[in-house]
């Protein structure tokens, strides 16, 4: 089991319907050999450079777990969908680093608590 995250960019004028079918298909692809951890919608953002003549895109972020085949399945769904401008899958670091991050987050919280006092 590995931890992955994928960010994909959709055309900003994509129909709500086709967006829903895409997310359903992505979800199915993940659940075929892994499990979804969380999804996040970053909303419409300006692209730093035009992609397929588009200046804006809808950013979506998904986090999931599974064997290495999941990535291929998810990317296949994204690759053949015309509404997707770009996607990037990244392996999320090992648990050690995650716990270090959590520690950092704790420090951050404590820091903010101090500020409040």
């Amino acid at each position: 089991m590995r931890h992955y995250e994928t960010v994909f960019i959709l055309r900003s004028q994509i129909a709500a319907e086709s967006r829903k079918t895409l997310t359903d298909r992505v979800q199915k692809a993940i659940e075929s050999s892994g499990q979804l951890i969380q999804t996040q919608d970053w909303g419409v953002k300006n692209l730093a450079y035009p992609i397929e003549k588009q200046g804006k895109g809808i950013y979506c972020h998904i986090e999931y777990q599974g064997s290495s085949e999941v990535v291929g399945q998810v990317e296949r769904v994204l690759r053949y969908d015309e509404g997707v401008l770009r996607y990037l899958t990244v392996k999320v670091e090992k648990e050690q680093e995650i716990s270090q991050k959590n520690k950092a987050a704790e420090v951050r919280e404590e820091g903010s608590a101090d500020v409040q006092i």
Binding site: V7, I9, K45, A48, L88, A104, V107
Partner: protein
């Protein structure tokens, strides 16, 4: 960029290099979109390496430009 004695990412573990946070990465990119070299950025080798991969990831997702006009 002002000169500091210690790499700011080592000094402050809360600050993380992440392609999902282009605002932080932008501090280490020239206005043309180039990555600032280590001697200018004052980052240690390890964090400069992270900076490189994260900037490149952000570029793929059009969060940062490859070359700004």
């Amino acid at each position: 960029m002002s000169r500091s004695k210690r790499c700011r990412f080592c000094a402050n573990p809360v600050m993380r290099l992440d392609y999902k946070e282009p605002k932080i990465l932008q501090m280490f990119v020239t206005d043309k979109g180039k990555i600032v070299p280590r001697r200018m950025s004052g980052i240690c080798a390890k964090h400069q390496r992270f900076l490189n991969t994260e900037v490149r990831r952000a570029r793929i997702l059009a969060l940062l430009p490859f070359a700004a006009s």
